[in-house]
């Protein structure tokens, strides 16, 4: 049996139509998801520049400027609230927590990925399981521990506790990155006369650099997100982070500083999202590699 020209053309046209339908579905889906995800943020982006006489009119179009935009509420946010203090606190806590996390998780991840421990695999899973114990279960006794240590109302309480959240997940990620580096490289360095420590410092760590940066971003983001401990330990505004300071200090009783609030959210969310996006592929790689048997 042979195919006539028309049959082939019909088949091609059908395939074309199906492909175009598929593309249409793809774009429609992508746009729908992007819209649903970004909707409250895009609206916040507009509201933050609105005048109060525009924002607080029920009949005004909420999606557009009915009166000229203003920077007044951004001025208020930066100069008359503790926003900058919250940002400074968050950065300080985030940096110290990230440093502690690397110091502790990096050797642990190396040992788990490389040293063929007798309990290695179980220990790796145990560390992963620690990540599954939520702060909700621990924050009440932890609050007492912090009080007994005299750390309440201080950023050091958060610095002490946040590594319990960041270490397990960072160790897991780093373990994945270590497994991605061929073992031959450091064995060769050891044959060449370096100690194992020397081989790690000279050969392995430079190759780990991209992975370490990814973990820095991840650990920093986690500590900036944390809410329960920060709310339970610290109540004075001088030691609040953005996660607790913005929701509690910019709302006083029933008075909401809405434009400033929206600005506070956007100015934090967008940079963190950009940073996170830049490293997303690396995170995925680290997590999946961590799951590969070493």
């Amino acid at each position: 049996m042979t195919w006539g020209d028309t049959d082939i053309q019909t088949l091609q046209r059908q395939a074309d139509r199906r492909r175009r339908l598929g593309r249409f579905g793809l774009y429609a889906g992508a746009i729908l998801f992007a819209f649903l995800a970004a909707f409250p943020f895009s609206w916040a982006l507009i509201s933050m520049f609105k005048q109060s006489s525009d924002l607080y009119v029920k009949e005004n179009n909420p999606f557009w400027f009915n009166e000229a935009p203003t920077l007044e509420h951004m001025r208020l946010l930066f100069l008359e609230t503790n926003y900058l203090t919250f940002i400074r606190n968050t950065i300080f806590v985030g940096l110290v927590v990230t440093a502690i996390t690397l110091l502790i998780a990096l050797p642990a991840a190396y040992a788990l990925a490389r040293l063929r421990l007798r309990w290695g695999e179980r220990l790796g899973i145990a560390i992963f399981l620690v990540y599954l114990i939520p702060p909700t279960l621990l924050f009440i006794p932890m609050t007492r521990v912090i009080t007994n240590l005299g750390l309440q109302e201080s950023l050091w309480s958060l610095i002490l506790v946040y590594p319990t959240i960041t270490i397990p997940i960072s160790a897991w990620l780093l373990m994945g990155f270590f497994k991605g580096i061929p073992m031959d490289l450091e064995e060769q360095a050891m044959v060449d006369g370096h100690s194992r420590m020397g081989a790690i410092a000279r050969v392995v760590l430079p190759l780990m650099f991209p992975g370490i940066i990814a973990v820095v971003v991840f650990a920093f983001t986690l500590s900036a997100h944390e809410f329960i401990y920060a709310l339970a330990f610290n109540k004075s505004s001088a030691v609040k982070t953005i996660a607790t300071g913005v929701p509690t200090e910019l709302i006083r009783g029933d008075v909401f500083f809405w434009q400033s609030l929206q600005g506070a959210v956007i100015l934090i969310a967008v940079p963190i999202a950009l940073l996170f996006n830049a490293f997303l592929d690396r995170f995925i790689k680290g997590f999946t590699m961590g799951a590969v048997k070493g």
Binding site: P107, A111, L132, P134, I140, P141, T143, V161, T221, V265
Partner: protein
């Protein structure tokens, strides 16, 4: 001349056992001290009547649990936590799988879509929730504005002011926040499926939906399980969404275990009762742990 053994262990750090102990102990000690110890303390607290006013550890047996269980607000919180987790996670699985199917394909403007889609997850939770607090405002909600414009409603919805709509809102916001994470997890699984499998099935003439339901989803099942795992832990243990949106109100209709533990234990100072409330999360967590361990043993995903 030195023997190989001596040569090999010239430095103390070359002994793998010594090195393993040296490298693992800081992490293990940190976690025992600041996760293990508070965890045991949480269980101990639940059998005492400790409070901020009476910081002595007097054991009272099951009395604290009985007091907690007699409280109708607790029963409401327990039920809400369950409802919350089940509905949100069903929605999360469906939406995240669809989103991952989109994100694995190439299209114009993909980076922008990815950026926008991830926003709910990467923005600090309490801040992301604030944008919803305003979106669901009783007077100025833009959703209400749109509904009024198209003539569907004349009065405002008071989303967070009525039990039914408040619960719906809390579940929707939690779903909105977790879908990006779940999608990224599923995406990682999709990338791992060799494309020759799906290609071969496509060549054999299977259409998109058949490929989806008979090949892709069964292959994805283990990784979807991981996504659900994270989703369940986040929905049952996270208190920031509820705390920022409703603080458990109106009249405790959106109260969940985590917010109730916080309100009792920290704001009310009844540490023992707060600890007991939080402990009700434990059976679920143990169940999840069992699932993780099984997955790890099968080593399909872990």
């Amino acid at each position: 001349m030195t023997t190989t053994k001596e040569r090999k262990e010239r430095y103390l750090g070359d002994n793998p056992r010594f090195l393993a102990g040296l490298f693992m102990s800081p992490a293990v000690l940190y976690i025992i001290a600041l996760v293990g110890f508070p965890f045991i303390l949480a269980i101990v607290y639940a059998f005492t009547d400790i409070s901020t006013g009476n910081p002595e550890l007097d054991f009272v047996g099951w009395a604290t649990f009985n007091r907690v269980l007699d409280d109708p607000v607790f029963r409401e919180a327990l039920w809400n936590t369950f409802l919350f987790a089940v509905i949100a996670n069903v929605l999360v699985v469906v939406l995240a799988t669809a989103l991952a199917e989109i994100l694995i394909r190439d299209f114009k403007g993909k980076w922008l879509v990815r950026f926008l889609v991830l926003l709910p997850w990467v923005a600090p939770v309490s801040l992301a929730t604030i944008t919803w607090l305003w979106t669901l405002d009783s007077i100025f909600s833009p959703i209400d504005w749109v509904l009024r414009q198209v003539g569907l409603i004349t009065e405002n919805m008071y989303w967070l002011g009525r039990p039914g709509t408040a619960m719906t809102s809390v579940i929707a916001v939690q779903t909105w926040r977790i879908v990006p994470l779940a999608a990224v997890i599923v995406l990682a699984g999709l990338i791992a499926i060799p494309s020759d499998i799906t290609d071969a099935v496509a060549v054999d003439g299977a259409g998109f939906w058949r490929r989806m339901f008979q090949v892709t989803i069964p292959l994805l099942a283990p990784i979807i399980a991981v996504a659900v795992l994270f989703g369940v832990i986040l929905t049952i243990s996270d208190m920031s969404v509820v705390y920022v949106l409703t603080r458990g109100g109106p009249t405790n209709s959106t109260q969940v275990l985590s917010t109730w533990a916080f309100i009792k234990g920290i704001e009310g100072g009844a540490l023992a009762q707060g600890a007991a409330v939080a402990l009700f999360l434990l059976p679920v967590l143990i169940g999840i742990t069992a699932v993780v361990l099984r997955l790890a043993r099968r080593r399909e995903v872990m």
